[in-house]
Amino acid sequence: MIQFDAVHKRFPNGTTAVHDLSLEMPEGGVTVLVGSSGCGKTTTLRMVNRMVEPTSGTIRVGGKDVTRQDAAELRRSIRYVIQQAGLFPHRTVLDNIATVPLLLGFSRRKARARAAELLETVGLAADAGKRYPHQLSGGQQQRVGVARALAADPPVLLMDEPFGAVDPVVRTQLQDELLRLQKELSKTIVFVTHDVDEAVRLGDQIAIFRTGGHLVQCAPPAELLARPADDFVADFLGAERGLKLLSLRTLADVPQGPAPEAGNWSLVLDAANKPLYWASKDAKDTKAAELPVRPLKDTDSLLSALNESIASPTGLIARVDAEGALTGVTSRDDIHAHAGQAHTEARVAA
């Protein structure tokens, strides 16, 4: 657990970066710090591993005051991932990942062997290890940055906009990857971003900062979206925060029915019972005779269900099991009703 207790940071030029911050970041959870530029979120992050020293107040990691520990040793157990990865351009990918094990005194052979394992953990091919960072794409470099941070198994990860410099598709992949890793590893993660969607996807709790280094609200994403503390938070989360809330709910408890047919349209399945497309019975309309279907699993979000129900010619979404075989369909009305109910619940829950 990371505890901030009345932490204050003023820079020598007089600006207050962090104002009287008290915050707890739970063990094994992801705490996302969000806010616009200059709100103190990066400074807050950098105070955890003493890249920035607080002016007053105490920061404890695992109960121990960070300012009482040797800074370099602290940073070998609390690991730091930055935007653009900050990889060492003169070292191979493998040696980049092996940095901290080598600093900790592991033998070169052992450090490299561990680095090769981590390469696989973050989804990179083994031959990437021999390359130099500039020979990789931005997304791959970011994966190497994560692998480097995971080497020597640190309990705490600090991530400063680690996915800020890659395109949206790669960004989503990297987020998925992080969620998958986190399920396995349960690290205590502090994650800085200015992207609300990223915060909602990754955070177990989200701390919103306002310019001047004030923490405005810290809550789990669903609570934050349903009950923003004030107008600033509401504005920051955006007008579609209701839809964002739906992205946190899954389809699992939305009922499904059997009829894969509605009006002129029927759902065509293959031999393995997998949905192929919606087919129109109206022969005159050849252009629109086939429309694509995007089947959804129970783990998909209510938001994607809502989206799919709008795109579907019948207002029905096709539900499938893990193997992709059809289990039933759900109507637009059911999704709507469920979404509304989810909202009401979230807003009245105390």
Partner: protein, 220 residues
């Protein structure tokens, strides 16, 4: 004109010119010895200084102004000055050559250090490297191409200037230039000058080739 060049050619290739204590072989060895020793001393002074300024960010003013200072320094004047103060020895020559080489080394080392991506330095610190580890494992290797350029420049300048050793009665390829001038032997003057130029260009090519080989994995 043609005669001059054919005489020069004959001078450069004649066997007797290459042998003996006054031969080109011996003078060349002397010249290289002066140049390499002076550059080595200058490196021992300039490299730590440049690294220190670059690593701490303190004294940048010195590093920047040293360059113009170096350009403005009259080498021959310095030789004479140290000669008058300390008497006849190789010391004035080395002082002058080292003073010529140090600014190029300091400014290039400093430039190399400041060109290291701040994000990379930040990441190095963030991984738990101590100051000296950041310097020797990250900053120095990344600054190395520019540091080597500085050493190369310094060496070439020193090679070209080491002719002044002959000015205070020592050896080196400058011997031919000064003796030739005294004897009004234009062929000898030219021969000395050509040899100095060839040595400088050859060293430059060899070192830049080495640099390209060493840093073949670098992007910039």
């Amino acid at each position: 004109m043609y005669e001059l060049f054919s005489n020069l050619g004959a001078w450069l290739v004649s066997g007797e010119q290459w042998s003996g204590p006054d031969g080109i072989g011996h003078r060349l060895a002397e010249h290289l010895q002066y140049s390499l020793l002076a550059t080595l001393i200058a490196t021992a002074i300039g490299l730590p200084l440049g690294l220190l300024i670059g690593h701490t960010g303190k004294g940048a003013f010195l590093a920047i102004n040293l360059a113009s200072f170096g350009r403005a320094l009259p080498t021959v004047g310095l030789v004479v000055l140290v000669f008058l103060a300390g008497g006849l020895s190789m010391l004035p020559v080395y002082v002058a050559l080292v003073a010529l080489a140090v600014p190029a080394i300091v400014t290039n080392t400093y430039a190399g250090m400041t060109a290291v991506d701040p994000d990379v330095k930040d990441a190095a610190r963030g991984q738990g490297m101590r100051g000296h580890q950041v310097l020797f494992q990250v900053e120095l290797p990344l600054a190395l191409p520019l540091i080597m350029t500085g050493l190369r420049l310094a060496l070439i300048q020193v090679v070209a200037t080491a002719t002044i050793a002959a000015y205070v009665s020592f050896g080196g390829l400058g011997r031919y230039v000064f003796d030739g001038l005294a004897q009004r032997d234009l062929v000898q003057v030219l021969g000395g000058a050509v040899l100095v130029a060839v040595v400088a260009v050859a060293l430059d090519l060899a070192l830049s080739g080495l640099q390209r080989f060493l840093f073949r994995h670098r992007t910039a």
